[in-house]
Symmetry: C2
Subunit: 185 residues, 2 copies
């Protein structure tokens, strides 16, 4: 991707996430990234393609944050809930909920690439939970992974409320992991 292309995606990320996709016009993105609208269309072809690139880039950044949090854990039982620690970090600078859920809300057409990217992101996290739960020796890793995913998404969705939902979610996540893990690791 060219330097101008990177600036466009960066501006699109900030604007799409904070103001909504439909509400942000390509003219504004071009202006914010110090680029002509012509350049934007030469690079991405359409607004839909730019939206897909924005989501893919965001997904990439978020996955690397989660992976780092998991790798920082020595104890395999603690590692299962490491994504919740990553979420705490992530939420400090991302206070408008989940970009993927938000994108699906605005783009009802299931054939839009945003749907595939969003689904892949959630399913990736679910399979990560399952892997980690299996590695920690948890019983019923499938159901556990789904429950951890729900807690994760719920904590993200309730972000705008004046409640510390992330703490209570993390507590519950740790509790169900410990309950499923072998007693004395």
């Amino acid at each position: 991707m060219t330097p101008a292309g990177r600036r466009i995606v960066a501006a699109a990320e900030e604007l799409f996430y904070n103001r909504g996709i439909t509400a942000v016009g390509v003219d504004l993105i071009a202006e914010r990234s110090g680029v002509t609208k012509r350049t934007l269309y030469n690079q991405f072809g359409s607004k839909d393609h730019l939206v897909a690139t924005y989501l893919a880039e965001r997904d990439r950044r978020w996955r690397s944050l989660v992976r780092a949090a998991v790798e920082d854990c020595d104890d395999p039982v603690e590692a299962v809930t490491a994504p919740f620690d990553a979420l705490r970090t992530w939420s400090r600078t991302n206070t408008r909920g989940c970009a993927f859920i938000n994108a699906l809300a605005e783009l009802p057409d299931p054939s839009h690439p945003a749907h595939r990217i969003a689904a892949e992101q959630k399913l990736w996290l679910q399979s990560l939970f399952k892997e980690l739960a299996t590695a920690a020796g948890c019983s019923a890793p499938d159901a556990l992974a789904v429950q951890l995913l729900v807690l994760h998404e719920g904590a993200l969705a309730t972000q705008p409320l004046p409640l510390d939902t992330l703490s209570d979610s993390t507590d519950l996540a740790r509790a169900i992991v410990r309950a499923g893990a072998p007693p004395h690791w």
Copy 2:
């Protein structure tokens, strides 16, 4: 509200929920409800006000469904998780996630009435969980209510995924309620 007003809100509900708020124009809503755009503006004054009415109406319908599910329960311990049964019913005809979360995604301005309505809806459910948990004699009803809220919102947010997240969420909800409730009710 006049007959035309009711038809407008009904059309707005269907269109806003399924296609997104910004993506739906007032012309389309007027056409679908068999009404002139002039009438729409005479009744609601602005699109923002119509959006607020749509959300308020949806909230009203949803609360009455939840209340009915709770009142159907004889056992106070079962009653705590009755909103999850209501969600199962609700999800059969509402497959595009939470209308309130989706609205917040599109309307970033916190002074928009949609933000107040959405927050009130979530906090109402949380306080309902707390009331029910207290009535069932659960210990730590505050934290339990937040955890049940997170599970509820998480199940709703993961609706588009090819996973039965509602079942696993409901199972976990029942488990934590039973764990907190007095042993032999």
